[in-house]
Symmetry: C2
Subunit: 146 residues, 2 copies
Amino acid sequence: MLTIGKLGEAARVKVPTIRYYEQIGLLPEAERSAGNQRLYGRKAMERLAFIRHARDLGFTLEAIRDLLSLSDIPDQSCAAADAIARAQLAEVESRLARLTALKAELERMVVQCAGGKIADCRVIEVLGDHSLCATDHRHPETELAQ
Amino acid sequence: MLTIGKLGEAARVKVPTIRYYEQIGLLPEAERSAGNQRLYGRKAMERLAFIRHARDLGFTLEAIRDLLSLSDIPDQSCAAADAIARAQLAEVESRLARLTALKAELERMVVQCAGGKIADCRVIEVLGDHSLCATDHRHPETELAQ
DNA sequence: CCTTGAAGCTATAGTTGCTAGAGACATTAA
DNA sequence: TTAATGTCTCTAGCAACTATAGCTTCAAGG
């Protein structure tokens, strides 16, 4: 049995984050030692690794909650899991496209900044004047996911 | 003079967001009409467009605050503005690299999911087993910016 | 056996960048 | 004039943590 610190180290998840996951019901309530400290076994370790990995891949905690509940009924079709993954893929692709455009614009800005005075600074100028911008901002609903 | 609604429409920024920017000091306190409604002129419009554009490019409000205060002293060197933009570019580049890797892994997951039962589902399996993962996760400090 | 320092506990509040709601007042068009 | 829309303030909520305070428990060294 691992204490919360060891578990966090093994799964590379911070201790308060583990407690937070328990609080929101993503991890079951842990067993406790005589002195009221949390103890974890292999199952908890695997579940946490799953969560960590899915977070790395950009899944929201809600999506992870769904995936975890799916994995609890192994006889069901995996169409739902596939759908969640596909949705995630689509989101990643759209973020990629957006970031690629941003990169191009930032590069233009930076390259053009010759190191003069603020009054002539391209960075400030480009930010101030939307018409100098190459990116298509006609769809304000596709905000950049930060 | 524009009311807050017209300003928001023109700059494509939502009304509560404008009030929020005023509250945190990114926009100066607006003039008021006889009936206590905010009124905006060209200067406020330009400042808001600057903010909007910088947000589109992924700058944090803190970075924008810095850029705005830089632009208030036009005789100063633009090195600081350049540095902020370069930092932003570096961040975008690292997010891009990370997202590209994620995309590859999600694609592998989705392609391999043949539509069987959960028990054999690659999506669940890949998420559960870190060793099946092609992405390099040895640097937990480079978290995915969401 | 005792002490000391690290690690654990709970509970609360803060972070970023907004967004939503309630209830009251202002403005505009029919 | 009246109804609809817009604006006002204030408070609370969202994701996904992170930090702080003040306490208890545990493991190792002397």
